[in-house]
């Protein structure tokens, strides 16, 4: 091997060239969440039952599986200034796309929102996946009581979804 070629190889290795491979020919690790839609046209002048309030696209090829941590900034309440009212029966349901082979699609999977952190977790069941989850669309649904007795205005909650490796 020439000196020039050896130098180039050594420099490449030093700089850590290339993606995070578990082996030379393995695909890169993917755990991603993409926001699609937050519903902002909800009518709180009447009760809501299993109304869709948000959607996310989930992708993961993590052999260790994944779970999704949702954070509700207002701890599961719709807020307008100092005025708030709670949502209830918050759940996750799979809508479309590919869920990793072996994982059970969520169907009204109940989300329990922690009063302190505002976090709620969907952990797919069914064991370790044997295939990738590819742009799997999930929806978050919730109930609320008739709020026509509240002061008029726009009430909102901010929701983030984070895909985390493992179960």
């Amino acid at each position: 091997m020439s000196g020039k070629r050896l130098t180039t190889i050594l420099l490449a290795l030093t700089l850590g060239w290339g993606p995070a491979y578990s082996a030379w020919d393995d695909p890169p690790l993917v755990n991603t969440a993409l926001s699609t839609t937050g519903v902002v046209g909800l009518n709180f002048g009447m009760p809501g039952t299993r109304q869709q309030i948000a959607m996310f696209l989930i992708s993961s090829n993590d052999p260790a599986g994944f779970h999704v941590v949702f954070n509700f900034a207002n701890k599961g309440t719709f807020k307008s200034g100092s005025r708030t009212f709670s949502m209830s029966n918050v759940c996750v349901t799979g809508i479309s796309g590919t869920l990793g082979t072996g994982l059970v699609p969520p169907n009204q999977y109940a989300l329990t929102i922690d009063a302190g952190t505002g976090n709620a977790t969907w952990t797919p069941t069914g064991g370790l996946p044997t295939g990738a989850t590819d742009t799997y669309l999930i929806g978050i649904f919730a109930d609320w009581a008739d709020q026509s007795g509240m002061i008029a205005g726009f009430y909102q909650e901010n929701i983030t979804a984070t895909v985390v490796s493992g179960f």
Binding site: A12, T32, T37, A54
Partner: protein
């Protein structure tokens, strides 16, 4: 010198490859959305008139109209009650030939109900206007900034009149306009 040039070229290519690799795998594991909606504005008033009054004798703050207020605007509202003629008039007749009011008030009904919104400048639910006489009369109440909604809040319009001693028999009536104006 040639070796140094080759090393520098190799270094440049390696750095570019690292940058490209980093860009290709800078994907988000976290995403956020806003979920929300509106509580629509409610600003309604409905009124029911008393059509079975006994006008043969004087009346003293007799309930003649019952009205209900629904309002959920943060700024509160004003409620105005206008007596069109200022008294009971004969059908198609001149009000001067009718029964003039000596007082028109907004007051608590005999059976209060509903909820007045919480407010630091809360309307006390009563407004008095003495001796309106014949002619249009408007009485106004104001509810200040609300922190809770006013829901089905029941009030009455009461009126007083002197005993009609010279009027002919017949049906005498008055029209009231109740106007609810929201404050945003």
């Amino acid at each position: 010198m040639n070796s140094m040039t080759e090393v520098k070229k190799g270094l440049g290519r390696s750095i570019a490859a690292v940058a490209l690799a980093a860009a290709a795998f800078a994907v988000p594991a976290k995403a956020g959305v806003i979920a929300g909606g509106t509580v629509p504005v409610i600003n309604t008033v409905r009124a029911i008139g008393n059509t079975s009054l006994d006008l043969s004798a004087a009346g003293a703050l007799v309930p003649i109209v019952t009205f209900y207020v629904d309002n959920n605007t943060a700024g509160g509202f004003t409620i105005s009650v206008t007596s069109v003629n200022g008294g009971f008039a004969p059908p198609g007749g001149v009000i001067a030939a009718g029964i003039a009011f000596t007082a028109v008030e907004i007051a608590a009904p005999a059976t209060p109900s509903g909820t007045l919104g919480a407010s630091v400048a809360q309307w006390d639910g009563t407004e008095a206007q003495a001796a309106p006489g014949l002619g249009a009369t408007t009485t106004v109440g104001t509810q200040g900034v609300q922190t809770t909604a006013t829901v089905d809040y029941k009030r009455a319009i009461t009126a007083s009149w002197a005993a009609p001693t010279t009027l002919l028999a017949g049906y005498y009536s008055e029209s009231f306009t109740v106007n609810l104006a929201a404050i945003f």
